[in-house]
């Protein structure tokens, strides 16, 4: 089980998950591949913000409640500075508004802690 867990952690939650999708491995290093991967990542970022952060702060899983709260308390500054900067960097137009909105929600939830 430990092997399974560590594999999930390192191989699935990886920097460029787009290239894990079947058939896209050969696009690694090409401009087209990078473009596609960025789009894919943007989608993941939205969902991470919405479900893995805001939703977990609002309605934490009962078994992990303490762990989630402690985790976000400790990671608050990192999320609101480094991560926010990196994730909003290339965003424009509609997407920028969406990500900014999500970060605003996240900030209010984090301030409640």
């Amino acid at each position: 089980m430990l092997q399974v867990i560590v594999s999930v952690q390192s191989l699935i939650l990886c920097p460029q998950p787009y290239f894990n999708e079947p058939g896209y491995e050969r696009l690694i290093g090409t401009p087209n591949g990078k473009n596609q991967s960025d789009q894919y990542d943007a989608n993941i970022i939205d969902n991470t913000l919405r479900w893995a952060m805001i939703e977990q702060l609002r309605k934490p899983h009962p078994a992990f409640k303490d762990a989630i709260k402690a985790h976000f308390k400790l990671r608050k500054s990192h999320l609101l500075t480094v991560v926010k900067k990196r994730w909003t960097e290339g965003a424009t137009g509609e997407r920028k508004a969406r990500v900014d909105g999500l970060f605003k929600e996240l900030t209010t939830e984090l301030n409640k802690l």
Partner: protein, 375 residues
Amino acid sequence: MFCLQAKIYLKSIDESEVAALTSAVSTSMPSPSARDKDTGATNTSNDDAGGIKSPTMAKPGGLSVAGGVGIKSPAMKNAAEENIVRRRRTQQESIASEISLARLILDVGESVSAAAKALNPRPAGDPARAPGSTPGSTTTRSKAKGKGKGKGKGGKGGADDDGVVSEAEYQAAMTPFTYDSHENLSDGHAYAKEAAAVRLFFYFRTGNLTDVTCVFFHSQDLRNGPHISRVAKEIAGLAGGALPLNRSSSVFVRIDDAKSVVWSIMITGPEDTPYDGGCFIFGESILILLVCAIGLTSCFSLHQLQMRFSQAGTLRTLRRSSSRRPAAADGAPTLTCTRTARCAYRCWARGRVGKARRGIRRCRRCCRLSYRSNR
């Protein structure tokens, strides 16, 4: 809690082991007539029973059946004798392996608690990391809560200054949370039903054997049975502090108090990925693997299970090695299962083929645990 169970298991095994080994000696070299009786019994019931039974139960079952069967012709004797001897040997091997595993669990548990005490002078941290009893872990939880809050405030204060919580600080604050048991984890858990179905499955598989049926059918939950040594081993490994815990990404595991096969796992997203800092909870995909693994190990033996990872890192193939299992009664070869874990499990639970997946042919003999694929 699992240490305790392993102890109980070991004790029961030690007693039955002596009995089983003596009986094995006495039945493997009896007078010719007794040998023939045993032969008849073996031919009728062995191939159904061979893989399913826990080795400790196998002996009494085989003996009790040996009573009322007629005498066979001498031509069949040699082949049948060999068969019996081989079977006894494999059973003895598997008994020995289970015992050694139980001992291993005890050793691991002891060394883990000793190491935790030596490394960690804080009284609160120790029981959380060692596989302790339930009341112990609840008190730990309440203590840890207060502690985490205190530390959290400290971290926040530090964050205002330089914006960074140090690695050591994070680890110290989060250590109490890594492993715990939870009371009602199976309520609303995606696979709670499947975990219960495994019991049913034991019943189906052992339906024609009175001895074994009693044992499995009366087991109230999945904490009893031959698979528990495997679960205990997994949990001893996790609870011993093997779980990754870093500021960047860490893993938290919760195990249900009553059903030790119901797990929830939370992984926090690693830095520099689109998952950074998020809390991802896996209740499902991992549990079903575990349930499947347990189903397999209790049906065959601890060594027949092989897991293989595909390149993407997901567990795609779960197959049985054919080395230890004798060919089926009608001479059909033992086939390799290349279904996904989930599919195979469903298939067994129902006793027939579930929805056929793409690239996998339906198999007629699926309920007898042989599979074919058009790989």
